[in-house]
């Protein structure tokens, strides 16, 4: 029996969407863990947010000054700024200029 093209297409989509992406997520998650543990062992901490998230977090804090959780958000932001100032190697893809431009809120 020859399978119709539409059957093969659905089978391939399911395999890529589940086994492909799931396998990628597993490998990436385990790789991240190894990297984090290396960083923790070497410098006791690492940057908690990516440049993109830090930029969004700053924008959110500035646009929600009266939000009940703004203090938590500010603490998290400042903590990451402090960490970036202390560490030599980052977990996320930060460049020196961006780190130098960061200021506590």
């Amino acid at each position: 029996m020859v399978l119709p093209a539409s059957t093969i297409a659905v089978l391939l989509i399911a395999m890529v969407a589940l086994w492909g992406v799931g396998g990628w997520a597993l490998v990436r998650s385990l790789g991240d863990e190894e990297r984090k543990l290396e960083l923790l062992e070497r410098q006791e901490t690492f940057d908690s947010y990516s440049p993109r998230v830090m930029s969004e977090l700053r924008a959110w804090i500035e646009s929600h000054p009266d939000h009940p959780r703004v203090d938590d958000a500010t603490t998290a932001y400042n903590d990451c700024v402090d960490r970036l100032g202390r560490i030599e190697e980052t977990f996320y893809d930060w460049d020196e200029t961006t780190i130098d431009d960061l200021e506590r809120l």
């Binding site: 399978l3 539409s6 089978l11 991240d32 863990e33 959110w60």
Partner: protein
């Protein structure tokens, strides 16, 4: 409460691999092995699968991220988490509902674990290969042998309790690190064997060919929604409980959300490829449901070359899948009661397992009771529990009526993760998932009202009563000043 918190020292997962295997092992259960093939079969095959995949990515993954996040954020079990984000009182009753549903679920899941154990035992004995073996007679005589079923139920509860007595890291993590990969290998081996049988491609064709007419039926979409939401274990309290044992630097989005949902469904796809080609190759009924696993497949193994070996591999894998889920469902109650009572973990494991064994006796005694429990708690209890958990995350953790979850997404979900999660997550968790689950519940009520009016009305009334008693009870127990009254005016 403060003293109680100080007494409770929390364990953490020992490794990322252990956490990931525990999460996906918890979500892969008996339902993945037989339900996905069955639901895919009756809903038009390939088209259903495509809808299901779409909804898995759109709804189940964000939902699992949210539930795991709640656990990591609070470092508490179900009741403690809800109390922390929603405050003491009526909302804590919502967590009690989740706990009650979990107990009910495990009470009939334990007898099923016992069934699988019995089939593992007989696959090793080679019973299915004996001349004149009749799968239906074998199944009926086993389920009618009350003492035997209660004995296997007791062994199943005992095995779960033994693992849980060792705790999170030395118990659950240690065992799932081996069981889940073993399940994967077992299913993969059976799938390869199944796909190489003469006539197996008819099964592949039946499963994966998109039949357009099914795409236009609302029932197909509702079926895919239900499968995407509930086969991933969303709202059972498991992701919350396991998430509460994460370390500070662990990510949620990639492991707790994406990998858990896709890993779980990947096993479902493997089960599709293991079961259906064999079913077609031997000319069996593909829409046979749960009896496919316990009746049809024993016939298949009996007819298959090397069937003795494949039966052992399949039923062992099936047992591993169900056992890791049983551990997780029971752990939800163990974690919560250890935090909420004065008992130590080991005492709670023994008492809670004993309670599950006792509540599970009627389901072990009668398959009809088990089916009724599944109808009530599987059909109504789990969706309602999932709705309540999602309401807590979306509307209580997100603390304002607008897009309140944005601070959670930025501060908590995107912390220490390699997977950026955008604003869409807050919209889906707050505004899409709760109404979608509510819609499914209403649809289930309407559609079942016609076919099973008594059970439907009874189920709805029972779940409603559980919600009412839990919410009112906790509102009274945790009302301001209740402690002072109980302690004689606070003296």
């Amino acid at each position: 409460m403060t003293n109680q918190r100080a007494r409770t020292s929390r364990e953490q997962w020992g490794s990322r691999f252990g956490f990931l295997m525990a999460m996906v092992g918890a979500m892969v259960g008996a339902g993945n092995i037989w339900r996905l093939p069955y639901v895919t079969g009756i809903n038009g095959g390939g088209g259903f699968l495509l809808i299901y995949l779409l909804l898995l990515y759109l709804i189940a993954i964000p939902g699992l991220m949210a539930e795991t996040l709640l656990g990591r954020y609070t470092n508490r079990g179900v009741i403690g988490s809800v109390r922390q984000v929603a405050g003491p009182g009526g909302w804590t009753g919502v967590a009690v509902v989740v706990l009650v549903v979990n107990i009910a679920l495990m009470s009939y899941y334990a007898p099923i674990l016992g069934w699988i154990l019995y089939y593992v035992y007989h696959s090793i004995l080679g019973t299915f290969m004996q001349p004149g073996f009749n799968p239906l007679v074998f199944w009926t005589s086993y389920t009618n042998a009350t003492v035997l079923v209660i004995a296997t139920h007791t062994i199943a509860v005992g095995l779960v309790a033994i693992v849980l007595l060792f705790g999170i890291r030395d118990g659950i993590e240690r065992i799932v690190r081996w069981l889940f990969p073993a399940l994967l290998v077992a299913l993969l081996a059976v799938a390869i064997r199944s796909l190489t049988l003469p006539g197996a491609l008819s099964g592949v064709r039946y499963l994966f060919t998109p039949r357009i007419e099914f795409l236009l039926r609302p029932a197909t979409w509702i079926g895919a929604l239900g499968q995407a939401l509930f086969s991933t274990g969303l709202g059972w309290g498991i992701a919350l409980t396991y998430g509460s044992y994460l370390r500070d630097h662990d990510d949620v989005a990639l492991g707790g959300g994406l990998f858990t949902a896709l890993g779980n469904t990947s096993i479902g796809l493997l089960a599709l490829l293991a079961v259906f080609p064999a079913v077609f190759a031997f000319g069996l009924q593909p829409t046979a449901g749960s009896s496919l696993t316990f009746i049809s497949l024993t016939y298949v193994f009996g007819q298959m070359a090397g069937g003795y070996f494949w039966a052992i591999v399949f039923y062992l894998g099936f047992f591993f899948a169900a056992f890791t889920s049983g551990l997780a469902i029971t752990e939800v109650g163990v974690t919560t009661l250890t935090e909420e009572t004065r008992f130590g973990r080991n005492t709670v494991v023994v008492l809670f397992s004993g309670a599950i064994w006792l509540v599970g006796l009627p389901s072990a005694y009668s398959v009809d009771v088990l089916n009724l429990m599944d109808f009530i708690f599987g059909t109504w209890g789990l969706p309602v529990a999932a709705l309540l958990v999602m309401l807590v995350v979306g509307w209580k953790l997100g603390s304002d009526p607008g897009l309140g979850l944005e601070w959670v997404r930025l501060v908590e979900l995107n912390r220490s993760t390699d997977l950026y999660v955008g604003r869409w997550w807050s919209v889906i968790v707050q505004f899409v998932i709760p109404p979608v689950i509510a819609l499914i519940v209403v649809y289930y009520v309407i559609s079942n009202l016609m076919s099973h009016p008594t059970q439907t009305v009874g189920g709805v009334v029972l779940i409603g009563a559980i919600i009412l008693v839990s919410v009112l009870g906790m509102a009274v127990l945790e009302r301001p000043g209740a402690d002072e009254h109980a302690n004689g005016g606070g003296q």
